[in-house]
Amino acid sequence: MSEHFPVFLVTVPLIAAPIAALVNRPALSWLIAMASAAWTLYASVWLVGQVRTGGVVTYEMGGWAAPYGIEYRIDAANAFVALIIAIIGVAVTLYARQSIAREIERDRIPLFYAAWLLSLSGLLGITVTGDAFNVFVFLEVSSLSAYALIAMGQDRRALMASYRYLIMGSIGATFIVIGIGLMYAMTGTLNMADLAERLPAVMDQRTIPVAFAFLTVGFSLKLALFPLHLWLPNAYTFAPSAVSAFIASTGTKVAVYMMLRFFFTVFGAAFAFDQMQVDMILLPLALVAIFSMSLVAIFQENVKRLLAYSSVAQIGYMILGVSMASVTGLTAAVLHLFNHALMKGVLFMAMGAVMYRIGSVQIEAMRGLGRRMPWTMAAFVGGGLSIIGVPLTVGFISKWYLISGALERGWWPVAMLVLITSLFALIYVWRVVEVAYFEEFPDDEARPVEEAPLGLLVPLWALVVANFYFGIDASFTTDVATRAAETLMGVAP
């Protein structure tokens, strides 16, 4: 049984999706979604356990041997990414029941969970597959369902946000197919491990650098690297709260993982960084993203939009780690991928709870909420501390590795920039805290605002606790992230 876990990880939510739509009862559809999410968590924990000692789990789809059949190949890097997707999947699905019941019409809820499960399955599929074309298929499964999920937002602007995301996302995905096609033309294989073996022989041909360029642009669009991030702020702002929390914590992370996988495993660090010098592009873009997007976030009035811009900046941190092309830098990138999912999950879920009670996420609408919704706002502060990078939170751990990586390369100004932009994060989190805690709640008998229901608070606080737990005892996350970085760099035993 357990030898089939890699494929069941993906197929269980995939098969559950039409069932959730067909049963057509909101409560039952949710239960199916919840059960599938719980299953993916179980399977991914099992996978992490398998690869933690340095092993690789492979699965041959349909029994067809590797370079010809589709292979699922799980090592430390993708097991870790699958784990964070599953953790967020469980927490946000638990959270979605009440949040979605409030924000989406009743007869659409089963369809919502169908799209939700498809998105989860697609994201996990991208993560575990070892086949380049399979990556594209799962990418489209997850993206198309994400467009549908975003379009379900209450505001009519959600439609336009979803449309723009669809156009830009499809261009990105098409660029990725072009890149994969050109690689296939040169090597005649789609299996990533096989590609890695055959590519060096044809690397001096012009086709391979072209394929590399197409893939880089495609991934950058999907992971919202500045200046290709334009789809992201509106999509995150107008999506239903649970969708914002889910997509912000997983969608771009998986795209970062794809980039890592292709740069380091398929092309190899020597080609990507020495020959193509992709770090010369990634580094400045990452720095501009970190600086400018943190600055833009400070001036936002809508907290979800503020968090969206902050996400683009945080993606900059991950790409900064990638552009270092060292084990420490990659460890920082992979760690931040995990940690940022935890903190953005908390922040967006806290905003979903605010939306649930007061129907708005504008900063001025949150006056005095610290007293009316103490648990929700305390969770927001917890997530905020993490995004600033205060010690004892996960944010500190990833910034620590990022700064060590920068210092290791002798990049003093970069390390300084990371510290300065942490202060920007302090400012934008503080703006919310100030309004919520230091201003009076407007006397309005008509709207008695009370604490969010337990169905929202429990998953929210589970992630807050995770934020602090992995911040205090980082041995598990750093251990797996280091192993993932070593695997990607090819220095692992």
Partner: protein
């Protein structure tokens, strides 16, 4: 005359640019989707051309002859998948346009209030 021999690839590049330009330059949401479809179609042709070998036969086994050259069927199969994905993308995009028309009463991008500016709730 190698440039002429690459006729398929010239078509690919031409279609790709036509599609890309349409996406960027047109304000009508349906026309943008048409541009996207043309853009994706160019990639289909890229893949299909890749699998074609001059003088190659369809890939079913011919016994008794030594000189048979087979076309590669895999790019064709791959692109079937990509066509399905393209159909799904277009369908989703068009249904979004229908909803946008219902919500805003127009499908011209300039007539839709800019979502970035218009942020009051």
């Amino acid at each position: 005359m190698q440039a002429l021999g690459l006729f398929n690839y010239w078509v690919v590049v031409f279609l790709m640019m036509v599609g890309f330009y349409t996406i960027i330059a047109r304000g009508n949401l349906v026309k943008k989707l048409i541009g996207l479809t043309i853009f994706q179609t160019s990639v289909f042709i890229l893949y299909i051309s890749m699998g074609k070998i001059t003088g190659g036969t369809p890939p079913y086994l011919i016994t008794g002859r030594e000189d048979v050259v087979y076309s590669n069927p895999i790019p064709h199969v791959l692109i079937l998948t990509a066509i399905v994905v393209g159909v799904a993308t277009t369908a989703l995009g068009l249904s979004l346009v229908v909803r946008i028309k219902e919500a805003y009463g127009t499908i011209e991008e300039d007539e839709i209030p800019d979502v970035i500016q218009d942020d009051g709730q």
